[in-house]
């Protein structure tokens, strides 16, 4: 078959450029928000100083490795902000960006893989499994205690054990679903229903443990489930960033496969997609990303479910744009939520999970009511 006589239609290229512009606009918004997020807090730092502190700090760190003697961009800003910016606020802002990207991109993939608009990184019971792991750690292994700090009423005195156990149970939930889909075929229905069953099972397990817990353990478990990007350290941000970047790349490579699956399983097979393996591997990657984020930061709902839908309403279902668009949207929403969370009841700091839904739901309802952009 030969269609050699075609021309590249100009109006289509314009249409594609518009989508790129949306994503670029989102990136600019993210940059502004990022600086803003670092500048506000208990101590206010002027936005321009934040920018200079970041650039100078970056130059110092690069120069520390390469020894090129690169000068600072401006010496008008002193080193007085270095500690706050580099040690406290930057890791937190980066954690919000990384977690936002990870949850959102995993949500896009799950919605496609499960052929279900309610698909999210947590559809497979990941968050409940993580919470159960934390409950096991705090209540059975006694790793939680009460401590009064300004950041939160409770801290967990052995976060590594808690994180590892949460991660272990997240992966266990994923393995069980993989096993079920191996026996019953990797159909979206089987996966969703297995996820619902596992969610209930782990919730029941957590409730059972909580029933026998004392006050301080109970508080620690509940505290753990409030997702909070303030828990991130440079090490955890680094680890999350590597995994989220790898997963995002993986999903981007598979964008045509997900587009094909969106058109129906049989059509996808006719287009050369190994639907079952794309589905299984995609699920494992999405679960891994969510498990890492949940284990380090706690449960942050809503971002993975709703950010992809916000982007769908703005730039459509084409995965070529949906995936990068959702990454930007997830980062913007979580960073915005975290910034507000640090301001709204200052000097107290709310966990970001409380605010993601508060801020995201009204926007989402507005987009639902408005319908698609024509």
């Amino acid at each position: 078959m030969h269609f050699a006589d075609g021309t590249v239609p100009e109006d289509y290229l314009t249409y594609i450029r518009h989508k790129h512009l949306w994503i670029l606009g989102g990136l600019c918004a993210l940059f502004v928000l990022f600086i803003l997020s670092i500048s506000v807090g208990a101590v206010g730092i002027p936005a321009y100083d934040v920018f200079l502190t970041l650039v100078n700090g970056l130059i110092d760190r690069i120069d520390g490795v390469l020894h090129l003697g690169i000068p600072h961009v401006s010496d008008t800003v002193s080193h007085k902000w270095d500690a706050i910016v580099w040690n406290i606020r930057l890791p937190q802002a980066l954690a919000a960006v990384v977690a936002g990207v990870g949850l959102s991109v995993a949500g896009v993939a799950m919605q496609s893989i499960l052929r279900n608009p309610l698909g999210s990184p947590f559809t497979l019971g990941i968050s409940n499994a993580g919470a159960f792991g934390a409950a096991v750690s705090v209540i059975l292994l006694g790793t939680g205690t009460m401590q009064s700090t300004i950041a939160g009423a409770v801290t967990i005195n052995n976060p590594y054990v808690t994180t590892l156990l949460a991660f272990f149970f997240c992966l266990l939930a994923t393995a069980v679903i993989l096993l079920i889909s191996k026996v019953r075929g990797a159909s979206p229905e089987v996966m969703v229903l297995a996820g619902v069953a596992l969610s209930s099972l782990f919730t029941a397990g957590t409730m059972f443990l909580q029933y026998f817990a004392d006050d301080s353990q109970l508080a620690a478990v509940v505290f753990w489930t409030f997702g909070d990007v303030g828990r991130a350290t440079w090490e955890t941000v680094g680890l999350m960033a590597v995994i989220v970047a790898a997963a995002t790349l993986f999903f981007a490579v598979n964008r045509w496969n997900y587009n094909a699956i969106d058109a129906g399983d049989e059509t996808a097979k006719g287009l050369g997609v190994n639907v079952e393996s794309v589905r299984n591997i995609g699920m494992v990657v999405a679960a891994l990303v969510s498990a890492v984020i949940v284990s380090f930061l706690g449960v942050i709902g809503f971002v993975g479910l709703v950010c992809p839908h916000m982007v769908r309403r703005i730039i459509g279902d084409d995965q070529r744009f949906l995936i990068p668009g959702s990454c930007v949207m997830g980062a913007v929403l979580l960073l915005a939520a975290d910034t507000v969370a640090r301001l709204i009841v200052a000097p107290y700091v709310l966990p970001v999970a409380v605010l993601t839904a508060f801020m995201g739901a009204p926007v989402f309802i507005y987009l639902l009511l408005r319908g698609y952009r024509s």
Binding site: P9, D11, A263, L271, D317
Partner: protein, 255 residues
Amino acid sequence: MILEVDDVAFTYRSAPVIREVTFALRPHETLAILGPNGVGKTTLLKCMNAILKPRCGSILVEGTDMLRADRMEIARKVGYVSQKCEAGRLTAFDAILLGRRPHIGWNVSEKDLKIVEAAIRRLRLEDLSLRYIDEMSGGELQKVNIARALVQEPRLLLLDEPTSSLDLRNQLDILGIVRQVVADHDVSAVMTMHDLNLALRYADRFIFLRDGIIHAAGGIEVVTPETIEAVYGVPVTVERYNGFSLVIPLAGHEA
């Protein structure tokens, strides 16, 4: 030969659905697979591009064994238009571009865009190319689905009841397009169909399935009242009118 099907059998949970199916198709031929509901027409169609794996037999498309080839290799030779196709928030152009997937590397090339544009012109979809497919009518969507299969640049087109939910105008449009494509390009088409009159009008080879085996196969000469009554259990007459063959059921079939 473009398609050679030899002694194919398909079993669903140990119950045989089709068996001993053997036929071949030359370039520029359009085959209609006919038979009552549940006889295995769609099953046979899906075996041809290995969406379903036959229990035995062989299926060759231009000499390539469909049961050994990987999915991508199959997709470059066989285009498939499913009976049920989901319509997401995608423009017609992007939905058709998806048909280039078996050929696309990391990114879409200019050649891909040109092929899609040519297919859009071929199916007279120019005015719809930037419309979203979730806002399209059944007929428009079916044209998009066929265009998607065409830009795969296949040698064999498989269409599962391509006109089942379309109005008269669109039925004629769609089948006219298929016939034209088969006439102009080096391809063959296989369609499962319910409407005998449309089949007679647009296909030149016919297979009647009955109880999972081929009851009759061949050119227009096999479409006889006897065959149709044996396959569907309905007495009919086949008449000529203005150069068309027409199947007319004789009385309502009061069973």
